[in-house]
């Protein structure tokens, strides 16, 4: 039986910023539908990795393949299939939730019916006509999730997906960005506990290097300590 193409394939990935190396010799393979947790201290390279996967940064060395397409050469081919939940919500604070989503819908060629659909799905249908700067952080995060899944992506890149979400909101977004969505996911989190619960694979980064790559079950307490020392 032929093995399916992995959703993400990294081989000896490296990226530097001037003299500083952010990522060095990182390799991992993520099958379709699996969840990868990227763990590590601040500055370990998690955000850089996520941005490279999201085509926002170019890799400097090594090979990157996302959804079967090599980056950065074929970046434009995968852009529409990736949902990126960043540290910032990527919403204009003076526009309403609905206007923001319609803007993203225009960029991704998605119709307005879908906009209403995701607004309802995150429970923001009632507050969609208020400017984003007047909304609470939890609501802004919900809108950010709506924005990330608006164009029905096949791969989710989630930076702190549960940040600012109360339990109700967390439950609302679960079918969109959680395990039950069935989508391939890469999650980074400052709280390793919650990330590990959802993960199939773990990539532990320490000073830009892959200190641990493997199934989540094999990632035990001492490995966790090593990473955060």
């Amino acid at each position: 039986m032929e093995a399916a193409t992995p959703a993400i394939e990294l081989r000896a990935l490296a990226r530097h910023f001037g003299e500083r190396t952010a990522l060095r010799d990182v390799s991992v393979s993520v099958p379709a539908g699996a969840t990868l947790a990227v763990l590590g201290r601040n500055g370990a390279g998690k955000s850089t990795l996520l941005r490279i996967l999201g085509t926002l940064l170019r890799p400097h060395l090594g090979e990157v393949s996302v959804l079967g397409e090599p980056l950065p050469r074929r970046g434009f081919a995968v852009r529409g299939k990736i949902g990126f939940l960043a540290h910032e919500p990527l919403l204009y604070s003076d526009l309403t939730g609905r206007e923001n989503l319609r803007y993203h819908a225009g960029l991704h060629r998605v119709d307005s019916a879908r906009v209403e659909e995701v607004l309802e799905a995150v429970g923001m249908g009632a507050r969609a006509e208020e400017p984003v700067r007047l909304l609470s952080r939890g609501m802004v995060q919900r809108l950010a999730v709506a924005r990330a899944v608006l164009h029905r992506p096949r791969l989710l890149l989630l930076d702190e997906p549960r940040a600012n979400l109360d339990p109700t909101a967390s439950r609302l977004v679960e079918p969109l960005i959680g395990r039950s969505s069935g989508l391939t996911r890469v999650i980074t989190s400052h709280d390793p506990g919650s990330a590990l619960d959802e993960a199939d694979l773990v990539l532990g980064l320490k000073d830009g290097r892959a200190a641990f790559v493997g199934p989540a079950e094999q990632f035990r307490g001492d490995a966790l300590e090593e990473l955060y020392r």
Binding site: L56, R58, F76, A86, E88, P89, L90, Y92, S93, L107
Partner: protein, 223 residues
């Protein structure tokens, strides 16, 4: 093209919602006219002097807009939002330059009549079409250079300073042409047609820098 319209609509909507840019440009221009009146100590001006005053005022008002052009993108994650979309990246250049062009036109609809009222001796009437043609061409130059410089400046530390300081020398050929073209049009008994030589220079400048902008803009966005 749809992408350009999507972005342009968003920018116009933001401007209508916040009124950050256009009112400042208008107020600045009006204040400039008052200052020029006192600085030059004249009741009315005409000809080349009037052309110079109008050109300088439009330029400095444009710099106000240039400083604001990409601020929302930078501070609210708009660059990422755009870069994540499966669209041609030069659409951002076209959309922003169009927005800046529209802001300038709105400004001029108010500022040029105000100029005629406050400072200009001869009436605008006969030469109006010529004036519109010249101002439209210089607006294209201001829009293209303004967008480029704003995109560069937004990533620097001293962004409000770098923008105008880089833009002004770059714009000098276009401003020379603008002022020289307007000079004959703002005289009493104006002929009504701007000197062709200066229109040609403006057009050449617009074409060269529009093409250059199209060629280099991608490099400003990528990372």
């Amino acid at each position: 093209m749809n992408t350009v319209l999507t972005i342009l609509r968003k920018d116009l909507r933001l401007e209508l919602r916040t009124f950050e840019t256009i009112p400042s440009m208008v107020l600045f221009s009006l204040a400039s006219f008052v200052i020029f009146h006192f600085a030059l100590n004249r009741a009315t001006i005409e000809g080349q002097l009037a052309a110079g005053v109008l050109t300088a005022t439009l330029l400095f008002a444009a710099m106000l807009a240039v400083n604001r052009l990409f601020v929302a993108e930078r501070e609210q994650g708009g660059f990422d939002a755009f870069l994540l979309a499966p669209v041609d990246r030069t659409a951002l250049l076209l959309a922003k330059a169009s927005a800046l062009f529209i802001f300038l036109v709105v400004l001029e609809v108010v500022a040029v009549p105000a100029f005629a009222l406050l400072l200009l001796g001869p009436s605008l009437g006969p030469a109006l079409i010529g004036i519109v043609a010249v101002v439209a061409l210089v607006d294209v130059a201001l829009a293209v250079i303004g967008t480029l410089v704003s995109a560069i400046a937004i990533h620097t530390r001293a962004r409000d300073l770098i923008g105008p300081v880089v833009a002004l020398p770059l714009l000098i050929p276009a401003l020379i042409a603008c002022a020289r073209a307007l000079g004959p049009l703002l005289q009493t008994h104006a002929s009504g047609s701007p000197p062709a030589k200066w229109l040609a220079i403006l057009a050449l400048y617009d074409v060269v820098f529009a093409l250059l902008a199209y060629a280099v803009f991608d490099f400003l966005l990528e990372d």
